[in-house]
């Protein structure tokens, strides 16, 4: 297949194979789908890791899994779910829907967008390939000096420190891209305060990415040169300081939490008004509270470090700053309830998950406030109480919202409705399984069960709670299977979803499902918030007439390109060069050098490639 395409006689014609089409695409919608598909596979891998962990902890003193493998599992579970599942699942929605919501034909930098995808995907495969040689085993937080060469001599933590740098490149490039796209490519009339809330949440998230990822990049480079070249940034014997790692990690790590949850806020703020048939309550309060959360998110990192004994002044500052976050977060929850209050609530599947999100997120938020109470946190930190807390915000929050978004936007992405009956079964199984898994962990933690232990003794009262959690985890797994069944079942049906199945308020519902490559045949002009509702009200209809498909004549789109993929491969090789043993290692060996040359040549060729070199004629 590939050879025919590389044949110059065929290049640039419509006979390009489907595979080549997807490998070279710069279409934000295809890129979004690939983000979603690969992130879902990583989500399944991370879920499988979680099931193994829960099986091992089903009872006291089990030896189903060796301690070494257990440590690899929980390290990879955390790393995978954060960097390879929740972040790219959000990126799926950014990619597919930001241009649609702002009335644009693509993102600001389409080829950079493709490069972000390939760097992310290759980085994710690289991280998971580590299981062949020994997966990372020092925790997703990689605390020094355990993550240094002396205490982690194997390749395990090399995979982690290099894999995260690769993923960071993808995140930063996407951050620049979406920040620019939202600020520069909005339709005429769409002022900032008329943007849909999902677009707002994406914008704020990119600001967080752009300000926090450089910090972790610096920390990871320090750690990498410690490990590879024997420097001593975090090596106490050489005068380095493990506390420096903790500060750098959490200056990134706390904003990262909001990078995971703000897109969820955006999705929920789209769904609640549509299914309540009533506009979002307190739009500007929602915008400012989100910006305030993001701002405060950079001033609370040390609440992850209360047990390090920073002293009463620092503890007080970070305690109070953390408590402050509860105020804008509360404002968001109250406004969501205010949105459905007095509405005409249509209980369709996306609404089930959105309401489930609110209910679960309240619990995660309240246990979060408990952690801000520094002295009480001395008992809770690094116990299962924390595990319960962050799963209530990350699963009960982010994953419930992403699932809500999947049901909501599925017809737009694929032109098919997901089944309502199976969807509701999915919801009830997931809600039950989720609470059965994570609610008991609050008690296990308060009863003194530390995190990250591969087993526990009987007689401490942990047994019942752990058994319940294990049963719940398998119920959760079944709920995911039900979702997959829903996808497979509805995929066999013809693509017949209407342009606007839910009575939407935003621009993506004004164009056919699935959208044509150029999104909008005519660039829209916006006159206010909830533009589509305004149009429908003016026309006196519940649904606008089905938009006609056009032939796209005269519309110029950027052409496909191989260079983003090639540059991504170059970056991967360059980074892998750092972990290979001599004589293969960079800068003394060939692999890193080859990667460096590929990257450099790729960027050069990319820069001089005409924008429509391989464009299909319209």
């Amino acid at each position: 297949m590939a050879t025919t395409v590389l044949d110059p006689a065929h290049a640039g014609t419509r006979s390009r194979s489907v595979l080549v089409e997807w490998l070279t695409t710069v279409d934000h919608k295809k890129i979004g789908i690939m983000y979603g598909a690969s992130a879902f596979v990583f989500f399944l891998i991370g879920g499988l890791e979680a099931l193994l962990i829960r099986a091992q902890l089903a009872g006291p003193n089990k030896d189903l899994i060796s301690p070494e493998f257990y440590n690899q599992l929980f390290t990879m579970h955390g790393t995978t779910m954060i960097f390879l599942a929740v972040m790219p699942l959000s990126a799926m929605f950014f990619n597919f829907f930001i241009p649609l919501q702002i009335g644009a034909r693509d993102v600001a930098f389409p080829r950079l967008n493709a490069m972000s995808l390939w760097v992310f995907l290759l980085g994710g495969i690289f991280l998971n390939a580590s299981f062949i040689w020994g997966a990372p085993n020092g925790g997703w937080f990689g605390y020094a000096p355990l993550s240094g060469r002396q205490y982690s001599p194997g390749v395990n933590m090399d995979f982690w420190v290099i894999g995260l740098q690769i993923l960071g490149i993808a995140s930063l490039a996407a951050g620049v891209n979406f920040f620019t796209t939202i600020l520069n490519m909005r339709a005429r009339g769409m002022t900032l305060m008329r943007m849909p809330m999902f677009t707002w949440s994406t914008l704020v998230t990119q600001v967080l990415v752009l300000l926090s990822f450089p910090v972790i990049t610096v920390a990871l480079i320090y750690l990498m040169v410690d490990r590879v070249f024997g420097t001593g940034f975090f090596v106490p014997a050489a005068g380095g300081d493990p506390m420096l790692w903790q500060h750098l990690f959490w200056v990134f790590g706390h904003p990262e939490v909001y990078i995971l949850i703000l897109p969820a806020f955006g999705i929920i703020s789209e769904i609640l008004p549509v299914f309540s048939r009533k506009p979002l309550f307190g739009y500007s309060a929602m915008v400012f509270s989100m910006a305030f959360i993001a701002f405060l998110g950079f001033g609370v990192w040390s609440h992850h470090m209360f047990s390090t004994g920073m002293g009463p002044l620092a503890d007080s500052f970070f305690s109070l700053a953390t408590m402050l976050i509860a105020i804008p977060t509360g404002v968001k929850i109250f406004n969501w309830i205010g949105t459905i209050w007095g509405g005409s609530i249509q209980l369709r599947t996306p609404m089930y998950f959105a309401l489930g999100f609110i209910a679960m997120f309240i619990m995660g938020g309240l246990s979060g406030v408990m952690h801000s109470v520094a002295p009480a946190d001395l008992q809770q930190t690094d116990s299962y109480f924390v595990v319960a807390h962050f799963h209530y915000v990350l699963f009960g929050g982010s994953i419930f919202a992403i699932t809500a978004g999947a049901y909501y936007w599925w017809p737009k992405m694929f032109g098919r409705m997901l089944d309502e009956g199976i969807g509701k079964a999915h919801f009830w199984l997931m809600l039950t399984g989720f609470n059965l898994t994570f609610f008991p962990m609050h008690f296990a933690g308060l009863l003194g069960m530390p995190r990250r232990i591969y087993t526990y003794p009987g007689g401490l009262g942990f047994d019942t709670y752990n058994l319940l959690a294990t049963v719940g985890a398998f119920v959760l797994a079944v709920s995911i299977l039900v979702f997959m069944w829903n996808v497979v079942r509805t995929w066999r049906r013809p693509a017949d979803a209407p342009a606007d199945p839910w009575g939407g308020a935003t621009l993506e519902w004004a164009i056919p499902s699935p959208p044509q490559e150029w999104n909008f045949t005519e660039e829209p002009v916006v006159s206010g918030k909830d533009e589509l509702w305004t149009l429908k009200r003016a026309a006196g209809v519940r649904t606008l007439p089905e938009p006609a498909r056009s032939d796209g004549r005269g519309i110029h789109l950027p052409g496909p390109s191989w260079w983003p993929l090639i540059v991504a491969i170059g970056i991967l090789l360059f980074m892998v060069g750092f972990m290979l043993p001599r004589p293969w290692a960079f800068p003394f060996g060939p692999v890193g050098l080859v990667g460096f040359v590929i990257t450099l040549v790729g960027i050069f060729k990319w820069a001089y490639e005409p924008p429509d070199a391989h464009a299909t004629p319209h």
């Binding site: 309830i337 002295p375 008991p440 709670y465």
Partner: protein, 371 residues
């Protein structure tokens, strides 16, 4: 379709709401004991934390009930049909926004004030404890994967079981010789991490006599899961007896002829002078030297100045647990541990030459005399 949806989502809701209560009831009925619980404080530091935690839970429960209640009410009350007319289009209300910004802020003040007070209260190490005496100084040293306890004023060292007198404030100064660990005895105090390059402090005083389990709470490598320890809270007289025993237990004493009697004030209930010549004990002592045990383990609690690779074995014969809080200190377990440390704790830094069952029996017999 509408009907069926309506009937099966209500039981589902009930299931979710009742679940937490069921769990609690289940746990209560099981009649289990919770020796590592943060909810049953047995010391002043933990009391301060617990009072604060209960304040927080009080407010959290009120907010939980009100907000989840409002959410559920709205879902039931404002449920619409597809063909209902458009509801009133309300875009917001500034007064309401102000109210639900100010009220949470006020509630937070009720938590924030005691929080800051408790932060400062727990940071201050009391000079005298409930018993009116000066604090007992203990140095805590974390190792992969065991805890070393040194009593600088008393000149003794022990491992994995820290003895303290009831009612006396214990002033802990902590560090690690390798990676980070976190020292946690939930019934007495919150966690405190230990660092290789800076000393951290913690304090507590115990209100009850007994054996209280603790654990390492910072991930520290392959055996983080089995890095437990005990705090043995003794009556003051018993503590003084333990100290005297430990002070008499020097390395030189350990090397005296095996026939030497055990100190009369030994903790062992059936402590009788060891038979004049017990060949098994003598053989065990010999093996302790020849099987490389002595390379990593100090035998005496007194005068053991340098930190060794393995735990100090002073009084190992009468300790409650072995292998860092993981195995009951029975003859059988001790023999098993000596022969197969990697089977009990994969990756543990204890590597032993092959030891036969007979040799293990002799080593156990010898270690039992170390009281």
């Amino acid at each position: 379709m509408r009907l069926s949806t309506a009937t099966w989502w209500r039981p589902g809701l009930v299931r979710v709401l009742v679940l937490p209560l069921l769990l609690l009831a289940l746990a209560a009925c099981a009649g289990e004991s919770y020796p590592q619980s943060t909810l049953t404080p047995k010391g002043d530091f933990a009391d301060l934390v617990d009072a604060l935690f209960r304040t927080t839970v009080f407010w959290a429960v009120i907010i939980f009930v009100l907000v989840e209640g409002a959410l559920l009410f709205a879902i039931f009350r404002f449920r619409g049909r597809a063909d209902d007319p458009e509801p009133e289009q309300i875009h917001g209300n500034t007064l309401v926004e102000i109210i639900w910004t100010v009220i949470p802020a006020a509630v937070l003040a009720f938590v924030a004030v005691p929080t800051v007070r408790t932060i400062f209260d727990t940071a201050r190490i009391p000079e005298t404890g409930p018993d009116g005496q000066a604090a007992l100084k203990v140095e805590v040293i974390g190792h992969q994967w065991w805890w070393e306890f040194r009593y600088p004023e008393l000149g003794i060292v022990t491992a994995n079981e820290m003895h303290v007198p009831v009612g006396r404030t214990v002033d802990l100064r902590m560090k690690t010789v390798d990676v980070l660990h976190s020292f946690w005895i939930p019934q007495f105090a919150g966690k405190r991490d230990v660092f290789p390059n800076r000393e951290t402090r913690l304090w507590f005083s115990a209100r009850e006599v007994g054996a209280f389990p603790g654990a390492c709470a910072e991930f520290c490598g392959i055996q983080h899961g089995r890095m437990d320890f005990y705090v043995m809270v003794d009556e003051p007289a018993a503590f003084d007896g333990w100290v005297a025993t430990r002070q008499a237990d020097s390395a030189a004493a350990a090397m005296r002829p095996a026939a030497a009697p055990v100190p009369a004030d030994s903790l062992a209930p059936d402590a009788a002078p060891v038979a004049a010549v017990d060949p098994l004990v003598a053989e065990g002592k010999q093996l302790f030297m020849t099987k490389a045990c002595a390379g990593c383990h100090a035998l005496g609690s007194a005068g053991a100045a340098t930190t060794m690779i393995g735990p100090n074995l002073g009084g190992i014969g009468t300790r409650k647990m072995i292998a860092a809080g993981w195995l009951e200190n029975t003859d059988e377990n001790l023999a098993h541990w000596i022969q197969n440390p990697q089977a009990v704790k994969e990756g543990v830094l204890m590597n032993v030459p092959p030891i036969t069952d007979a040799e293990a029996t002799a080593l156990v017999a010898y270690l039992r005399t170390r009281q």
